[in-house]
Symmetry: C2
Subunit: 206 residues, 2 copies
DNA sequence: CCCTATAGGCGTACGGCATACGCTTACGAT
DNA sequence: ATCGTAAGCGTATGCCGTACGCCTATAGGG
């Protein structure tokens, strides 16, 4: 009977994402999103209760693009986990600004659960049960979350690493930093993941 | 010749930390800190250029309390790494509010470098060189950063885990969640770290 | 075809934030 | 006693999220 809505939640999320991609997370405000859409600021509040809900909309929209379909069962389990993890990293890595948002709203996102399900299944298939599986799953999550942030905040090949390399009072650390250029971002991520997977597999990648 | 300063940077950091511990990170503002000290808001700007510098002061003050002294050389290398990592976790864990600040300002903190140095040394002693050591060090850092955040944002024993346990459409994940109560926070953290260390050690903890 | 209930959309206003700018004032060296 | 310097403060600006109340477009019933 009344006036119909003129906006879908997707359009809202898309507009907010456009603002973030253009002006960074600091540029995200109710005013900016309203202007992006061409609506008044307060008009947005017909669609979301508050700013947090808009943020949730954005991260849902992004995380929904992570493919949750279990990879080919013929591959060894550690390869399958690597595939799943790389999918998440790929999606999040293409919107680095909103990593903090994802961290903050992670527990309210259904997409991340749908993504975790095949991970849990693969771990079960690898022979992990009960507490072992809990720990393996959480460790993977911790590694992914931490690695993406490290990558985004201070890339291995960045200026910060060079500063470390020049610090004579930290011999081992600076020597390590000097080798950082040999390691690409992808190698770093996959290398660390491989270490974790080797640990999960008991060392023999069974 | 001119009027002397009435505040040390430590006092400033202590006041800001008091505000955070009392009112949370959201309660941290130049006004709040000024009030805590008993000074006007703008008076603070004689000591810091902007809010970011005050945040840096706070996290330096906290991270400076992390013991960087290398542990007893007689212990096996993986135990020594565990000791170092637990020291960082202990300090950060007692100020959970400022985890986001630490993440954001990590690369400007000297304390974290002083803490990383023995870590790099121990890894070298474990036989890791060049790219291998780079990856191992970054992985440890990524794990620690991620695990502390996961722990703080959604404890394994918390309500979020229960919600997952009840989701019938995610059988493996919910079955995993049902075992979460068996795992304490410490076990989770050490368990994941042990997996990573096992991977670093090549599976045989040599 | 008009009427009207309903919800969409908007304007204004409030309190809080960081901080630029300029003034006043306490102080130590002369 | 005087004066240059830097400490500390008051005010103002332009952001922010959002509570509240108004106006109006619209679709269903008459």
């Amino acid at each position: 009977m009344p006036r119909p809505r003129s906006l879908t939640p997707e359009q809202l999320a898309t507009a907010a994402l456009a603002v973030i991609d253009r002006d960074g997370l600091a540029g995200l405000s109710m005013r900016a999103v309203a202007q992006e859409i061409g609506m008044s600021t307060m008009g947005l509040y017909r669609y979301v209760d508050d700013r947090g809900e808009l943020e949730q909309l954005v991260i849902d929209r992004v995380l929904d693009t992570v493919d949750p379909v279990p990879p080919d069962q013929d591959r060894p389990w550690h390869e399958r986990i690597e595939i799943m993890v790389e999918r998440l990293r790929g999606v999040v890595g293409s919107h680095p600004w909103l990593v903090p948002l994802i961290i903050a709203h992670r527990h309210r996102s259904v997409a991340i659960l749908r993504w975790s399900e095949p991970l849990a299944a693969i771990l079960a298939e690898a022979g992990l049960d009960g507490g072992e599986r809990v720990i393996a799953l959480r460790s993977l999550l911790a590694y992914v979350v931490g690695a993406i942030q490290l990558e985004q905040l201070g890339p291995l090949a960045g200026a910060g690493t060079q500063v470390i390399a020049d610090r004579a009072e930290l011999p081992y650390l600076s020597e390590t930093a000097r080798h950082a250029h040999d390691v690409t971002t992808d190698e770093e991520f996959r290398g660390g993941l491989a270490l974790l997977l080797r640990g999960i597999g008991g060392g023999d990648m069974r």
